[in-house]
């Protein structure tokens, strides 16, 4: 495999071709990438561009996400200081903007988005897919940077991607959308070029990000989401460490533990908050009936772990994490109340998912709260259209549903969006709707076996960090709630919770629940931080370039 070399703090680091800076640095044993305003260290956490904690300076450009930046020959990479000099004139603005005006714009090239694009293109529509990652495929079908195929999951994804390319849909990778405006105008950036999209219809398929296990120490470098570890491995063949523990709740933890073990990592602990599935035989059975193949796969994974001598410890949860020299020391509480402490290089956590629904909320699509999953779901019709005309939404960004459901929803939305844009009628979808109903039944049973309802913050100590970006503790938030708990906006202004770079993606759901508890009011769309542009931080130079491009157009 071809290699490149880049510089990190004066040291040369070898990277595989297509490897992210985050993966290459991890492989070289570096975990701390960024220094916070309070002098704490941070590294990879989400692995997917959401948390903004893996920031580094690249060739003089501050605050670049190491997980989203590919290593390139000769790059000068430095740890991100909290207050970078912003210097004199910037040379980062490139002239031309990319203007797109397709019949159907698909945002997100995962399971849902690719299927939608294929269906729309086959119905005769002009289609553009924008995806933030360098290689499309999304979270489930995550592709390897070097094109190699690890297993069936990746092979299916490669086929879907090839089909999308053949369909005539234009796939543009490395585009991050940061703004959405009424009348369907989207703004994004592709490297340093602004992207301006004014489609006839839009399908939002931005997927989900992971809900962490918020305990003291969860921000330490080496602690990351399970999906981040999975991306390191599946996309870059990089292990997050030698000795690894996994915790939270849900099937992804078991799957990734097995993947990492097969890759050569030593899985020293798996803590699952829920009881063993066998304690809920009826639910387990009806899940298995809804999708025998997937249920069998799940059992296979458990067997695979057992064969490697790695038991899943049920009804066990993470209590805290501490830095111990170069390693992490993680403490788990067992059902008996006793604690186990293990020394590890990396800790993976996933306690459910949060939909990436920012674009939908910005455009005013109606939402409702799903208490079982602990997150908002986007209201959509049988055609997958949201409450906003011409705006369709599919897959996990509308509420968790899994990859198979995302694919079917994509097919349905693609056909209807194409039809709304003036192409062939969206008929013969009865079978698709039937399959979708089956996938949804499977999902609803599946999640009943896990414990992903957002956990109670009451037992956590005041010192637990809640807002990663602004470095606010639970104590700060509790104090902010103190006298007059009213609204999340008030709490935000009083404490700065949610005011940082990740825009409240981790603290927002926690704050929303704490306010609901304090006021006795039910959680709804308005309980969460008001959606605002930019949905992802965007360089001023890029806004300047977008302004110039739109000005020229007038």
């Amino acid at each position: 495999m071809a290699e490149t070399t880049f510089w990190f703090e004066g040291q040369d680091i070898r990277a595989k071709e297509g490897q992210s800076l985050a993966a290459a640095l991890t492989e070289a044993g570096h975990r701390a990438f960024r220094q916070t305003a309070k002098d704490a260290h941070r590294g990879i956490f989400c692995g997917m561009g959401v948390c903004q904690d893996c920031l580094v300076t690249v060739d003089g450009m501050p605050n670049q996400r190491a997980c989203m930046t590919l290593a390139q020959e000769g790059m000068e990479v430095a740890r991100q200081v909290a207050l970078p000099e912003f210097g004199d004139a910037s040379d980062t603005i490139s002239g031309n903007a990319l203007h797109l005006a397709p019949d159907v714009l698909v945002v997100g090239g995962g399971a849902g988005g690719l299927s939608a694009a294929i269906a729309a293109a086959q119905a005769g529509a002009s289609v553009a897919i924008l995806d933030e990652r360098k290689v499309a495929g999304g979270q489930y079908y995550k592709q390897a940077a070097d094109g190699s195929i690890l297993d069936n999951q990746q092979a299916d994804g490669a086929r879907l991607l090839a089909e999308a390319k053949e369909s005539g849909a234009e796939i543009i990778s490395g585009v991050e959308l940061w703004g959405a405006f009424d009348g369907l105008l989207f703004l994004g950036q592709h490297e340093s070029t602004p992207v301006i999209a004014q489609p006839k219809t839009a399908i939002i398929a931005t997927g989900a990000y992971e809900r962490p296990v918020t305990v003291p120490g969860w921000t330490l470098p080496g602690v990351m989401t399970t999906g981040a570890a999975q991306t390191l491995w599946r996309s870059y063949q990089t292990l997050p460490g030698k000795r690894i523990a996994v915790c939270g709740s849900g099937p992804l933890n078991v799957q990734v533990a097995l993947e990492l073990a097969k890759g050569g990592a030593q899985i020293v602990y798996i803590a699952e908050r829920a009881p063993r599935a066998i304690t809920q035989p009826m639910t387990a059975l009806s899940m298995a009936l809804a999708d025998p193949k997937l249920a069998t796969q799940g059992l296979g994974m458990l067997a695979g772990l057992r064969a490697r001598g790695v038991p899943v410890r049920y009804r066990s949860e993470l209590v805290h994490i501490e830095q111990k020299d170069d390693a992490l020391s993680a403490t788990f509480r067992k059902p008996s109340g006793h604690e186990d402490t293990v020394t590890i290089d990396a800790l993976c956590m996933n306690a459910g998912f949060e939909p990436q629904n920012e674009i939908l909320r910005l455009l005013g699509a109606k939402m409702h709260y799903d208490p079982a999953m602990g997150h908002l779901r986007c209201q959509k019709s049988q055609t997958m259209q949201t409450s906003v005309d011409g705006l369709y939404a599919i897959g996990d960004c509308t509420g968790l549903g899994g990859a198979p459901a995302a694919r079917i929803e994509g097919e349905i939305a693609g056909r209807h969006a194409a039809s709304a844009a003036g192409h062939s009628k969206a008929d013969n979808l009865t079978r698709a709707h039937r399959t979708l109903a089956r996938h949804r039944a499977f999902q609803s049973k599946l999640w009943q076996l896990y414990d992903i309802a957002p956990s109670d913050t009451a037992p956590l100590p005041d010192t637990t960090l809640i807002c990663r970006c602004e470095e606010l503790t639970l104590g700060d938030v509790r104090q902010g709630l103190g006298d007059r708990p009213s609204h999340i906006g008030t709490l935000k202004r009083a404490t700065r919770v949610g005011m940082g770079r990740c825009q409240g993606r981790y603290c927002g759901p926690v704050a929303a629940r704490m306010i609901a508890e304090a006021t006795g009011k039910p959680i709804e769309d308005l309980s969460f931080f008001a959606p605002r542009v930019p949905i992802k931080p965007v360089a001023i130079s890029s806004i300047l370039a977008a302004q110039e491009a739109l000005d020229d157009g007038d």
Partner: protein, 375 residues
């Protein structure tokens, strides 16, 4: 001094300062606030003293009012300096404000402005590019000069609001959420009515910004308190480099760096109005235009990322504050700061409180009396 019972309608910076001043002098005070669209919660924390070019351009007929009030602005920043000392740290920095010129015409405009402001006693001067390079080397090459007003500055409004609010609460000020429909004056006092709720007191201070005109209307005054939705942007943190408040001689912009290192960009770009009970929403052209302008005058910030934008509700009047008792209802005291209202709010609030207590106001505010709006 005997304790009076006072209501304050509107709990932004003006109302809170008024309530605090009353409570500190022994009065029992309740703030009644509708809880929506307070400019104080969304403002940029610029301490304005010199005449804002945006204002002179938009409302030329009101310039004489603003000009007459210039000494009031200077006094108002002094009030903030006092508050900074008393409240303990609100990130206040009074290092002056620069108003930039990009052409000789603009510089000539600033020179005219400097002459008028000097006549009013402001500490203003013109800096040429060489002088600017010493204090603000980060400016774009097209900037030919600037007006420096030494009295201008900035503070962190979130910190200031939190500390001012806490201090008022500690002084015994209570606060209710209520949207007052009307005020009624009787022989024994005044009543503020919100639906079924009646609140009674000896006097009321109206510090309800855009909501004030409607409350004064039944008393025969047409106070033009208009809501004006405005746009703001903020970046992630950078090393402290910009210590001035930066404005432009011809275009709408304010730019400054908070103590956190974040750069705040605003200056009066419009937002979409959704009415009194919902915050305004972002207008694309304001976001693009405002940020692009900032990038042109301070090119180095191009590398920083905008992490948030927001919109809030400003209140305009005829350009000057409205302070004083209503001619036809002497238990009702208006307290509207008018232009650059966050700068003026604490001083306006304190003076209104002094009036409520029948003290001699610490500044002559006859110029701002409400009777100028008598129908």
């Amino acid at each position: 001094m005997t304790a009076i019972d006072a209501l304050v309608v509107g709990g932004g910076v003006t109302g809170t300062a008024a309530a605090l001043a009353l409570a500190e002098r022994g009065a029992r005070v309740t703030i009644l606030d509708a809880g929506t669209n307070a400019g104080s919660n969304t403002n940029a924390g610029s301490l304005h003293v010199q005449m804002q070019s945006r204002f002179m351009r938009l409302y030329p007929d009101q310039v004489p009012n603003v000009e007459a009030a210039l000494p009031f602005y200077r006094e108002a920043t002094e009030e903030w300096v006092r508050l900074d000392r008393e409240l303990g740290g609100i990130d206040l920095l009074q290092n002056g404000g620069l108003m930039l010129a990009e052409s000789d015409d603009q510089l000539a405009f600033l020179e005219m402005k400097v002459a008028r402001e000097t006549a009013k006693g402001l500490a203003v001067e013109i800096l040429d590019r060489t002088a600017l390079n010493r204090v603000a080397p980060w400016l774009g090459p097209q900037i030919v000069g600037a007006e420096l007003c030494r009295e201008e500055g900035k503070l962190n409004p979130l910190l200031a609001n939190a500390k001012l609010g806490a201090r008022a609460a500690a002084a015994g000020v209570t606060r209710h959420t209520a949207r007052i429909d009307t005020l009624e004056q009787t022989s024994s006092g005044v009543t503020a009515i919100a639906g079924q709720e009646h609140y009674q007191a000896d006097q009321v201070i109206v510090a309800a910004a855009w909501g004030s005109g409607r409350l004064a209307m039944p008393f025969g005054l047409a106070i033009p308190s208009k809501s004006e939705p405005l746009h703001m942007n903020i970046t992630e943190s950078g090393a402290p480099q910009i210590s001035h408040l930066v404005q432009h001689a011809e275009r709408s912009i304010t730019l400054k760096q908070f103590g956190s290192g974040q750069i705040v960009i605003g200056g009066g770009w419009p937002a979409h109005d959704l009415g009194e009970t919902q915050p305004p929403t972002i207008a694309l052209n304001s976001l693009l235009g405002n940020v692009a302008l900032a990038a042109r005058i301070v090119p180095g910030i191009g590398k920083l990322r905008i992490i948030r934008t927001w919109a809030g509700m400003n209140t305009t009047t005829d350009g000057a504050s409205v302070i004083g008792r209503l001619p036809s209802a002497d238990r009702v005291i208006m307290a509207l700061p008018g232009d650059a209202g966050y700068t003026l709010g604490p001083l306006v609030g304190r003076i209104a409180a002094e009036m409520a207590l029948d003290m001699k106001p610490s500044m002559d505010v006859k110029l701002f009396a409400p009777d100028r709006f008598a129908a």
